[in-house]
């Protein structure tokens, strides 16, 4: 395994020996105010650190070549990371990708070899390709013939269509537009309007910068380029390109992880939509990765906060999500996972839990997980560390840092969970990440339903 330099370590303020120094802060260690004081004091002594807002006695410290002074090590104890597999019971390399024709693989790139796991079009899938310049179509055809295996070429039919005007792209079925960089820039508003009209949790219009496509031909990454494009197109056409299978050890180690394939994932994105409002968008996705709907709502902005602190508005939002869930109920999700990039506030946890509880959580085996994830600092590849965990009303609240094998830095996973297994949010992060059919790149850190919601909000911005 490739070794990378560990640049940050996690420490817990344990002793009071730091306070023996005259200039040291004398405050209650587990408060944010104290953490700020300690931080200032550490920085004054040349130690680059930050504290974890959810657990203010935990500090993330940058390790310099000189190491840390002795006095520091007397007052802080390290929370050591462990291997991801050791912590979770599996890591991303243990997941198996299952295709049709009994195909299976350890990597999603075999989407180029096998037919999709499940597809509404049983015999042949036709995808219209609108090209602005003929050479874009030629390039796509070359890449497709070079990298896509015969069984899949027989299944997916690319239907070329010359593009007369951008307005030709209007329509319902999945279609791919090969446009020049110049057109994409100049006609952005019209394109954004068409993208948003084609949206149903996912846009059925796939755009590709034709100039970049030409650049991809002959390059080292052309196989990966085609795999990403094909997987995204199959997904937008309603197929599940591959089924992600949990490893056998899940049966005995962390049984709660078995809820993941039958969970319902709600990815939330937020974007400012004017001076006083922000738009909240929730994309609903199954544990197999297919999008089953979306809900949007405008929220009042209070100060700089981007959290759902207006209880009534949040309740309305949850009610709309629940109405959508009704149509999905026959599949009985064992777990509802609400994901976004920004961490959840304790008030949001209380409101969401209460609202979902009325409907879902009274059933004994149902659980609710609120989870946020975003890029943080490097802790070493294939490592995970539990920064902290505490018990809150009706569940667990905690923070993990996880750096998968191809990540440049760790991802911070902050969660609230009604179940018992604190490793579930971490397992959910790894599992959910693998369901992103629009990007197969191993270094990706974003999670699919959140990414789909944010992509839509990004296009809305172009319309204003």
């Amino acid at each position: 395994m490739e070794q990378t330099k560990v640049t940050y370590k996690i420490y817990r303020l344990t002793g009071t020996s730091i306070l023996k120094s005259e200039a040291a802060p004398t405050c209650e260690p587990k408060t944010v105010e104290c953490a700020k004081e300690v931080l200032k004091w550490l920085r004054g002594r040349g130690i680059d650190a930050r504290f974890v807002a959810e657990f203010p006695d935990r500090f993330i410290v940058r390790i310099s070549d000189d190491g840390l002074p002795e006095w520091f090590l007397k007052s802080f104890s390290e929370i050591k990371p462990r291997g991801v597999g050791e912590v979770v019971g599996f890591d991303e390399g243990d997941l198996l990708y299952r295709f049709d024709d009994m195909g299976q693989s350890g990597v999603p790139y075999d989407v180029l070899r096998y037919r999709p796991y499940h597809c509404p079009a049983l015999r042949r899938l036709s995808i219209e390709i609108y090209y602005e310049r003929h050479e874009y179509w030629d390039a796509l055809k070359t890449l497709f013939n070079r990298h896509v295996d015969q069984p899949l070429r027989e299944f997916v039919e690319l239907v070329p269509k010359g593009l007369k005007d951008v307005s030709d792209l209007e329509g319902g079925d999945v279609r791919l537009a090969l446009l020049s960089g110049e057109t994409l820039e100049r006609r952005i508003k019209e394109i954004a309007e068409m993208k948003s009209r084609s949206y149903n949790g996912l846009s059925t219009l796939q755009l590709v910068n034709g100039d970049k496509l030409l650049g991809a031909v002959g390059g080292r990454g052309e196989k990966y380029y085609v795999a990403n494009l094909l997987s995204g197109l199959l997904f937008k056409a309603g197929c599940i390109p591959y089924y992600v299978e949990l490893p056998t050890q899940t049966l005995s180690i962390h049984r709660e992880h078995l809820k993941l394939p039958r969970a319902l994932y709600v990815g939330v994105g937020l974007a400012k939509a004017g001076e006083e409002y922000m738009k909240g968008l929730a994309v609903l996705m199954t544990g197999h990765g297919n999008v089953v709907g979306y809900v949007d709502k405008d929220f009042h902005i209070r100060g700089k906060s981007m959290e759902f602190l207006e209880e009534r508005e949040l309740e309305e939002f949850v009610n709309e999500i629940k109405a959508k869930l009704e149509s999905y109920r026959s599949n009985k999700p064992e777990l509802i996972v609400v994901v976004r990039s920004r961490k959840f506030h304790i008030m949001e946890w209380r409101t969401l839990r209460r609202n979902f509880a009325r409907h879902w959580l009274r059933l004994s085996s149902r659980d609710l997980l609120l989870m946020s994830s975003y890029r943080y600092v490097g802790i070493g590849r294939s490592r995970a560390v539990e920064v902290g965990r505490t018990i809150v009303d009706g569940g667990l609240h905690g923070v993990w840092l996880v750096q998968l094998s191809k990540f440049k830095s760790a991802v911070k996973v902050s969660y609230f969970y009604t179940g018992n297994d604190a490793t579930l949010p971490l397992a959910a992060y790894i599992y959910l990440r693998s369901l992103d059919f629009t990007s197969l790149t191993q270094g990706r850190t974003s999670l699919p339903p959140v990414k789909y919601a944010r992509n839509y909000l990004k296009w809305l911005k172009h319309m204003s």
Partner: protein, 154 residues
Amino acid sequence: MGLWWTRQFRRTVMRGFSHLLDRGLLESCFRELEARLRREEREPCRLALLGWMDFVARAHGGELYRQFRELLPDALGLRRPDGTLLISCNNKLMCNEPKFCLMGYLLCRKRWMEKELRLLAPGTPYARVARVLLGEGDISAECGGRPGSCAIRC
């Protein structure tokens, strides 16, 4: 009760093809399936082969069935080094994952597992395997089909 059940089972599974209950034929069919299983790496195909081995071993009964039950946990990769099983027949979460549900059904034969298997999305690889295990389908051509020595219809 045991003998009655075995007779009923044979009658049901074999649907009156009593002439095929030749124990020698059944054994050669079983051995061929076993040989195929040793070469097969694709999980759904392995499960389909084991499904047929299960039918044949039950129809044969006696020592062959005992041997099959003995090899099953290892063939499924469900035996821990200490000999205990990774699977618990009462773990209902198991059927959230189609592969585990199929494995569980082979080992435990629970009615609720059968119901879960019938709910698998039609047309998916594991739904096709589920039909084999439930006695409603054959080993698919992708998995090499049924061996010639297993001319038993179900």
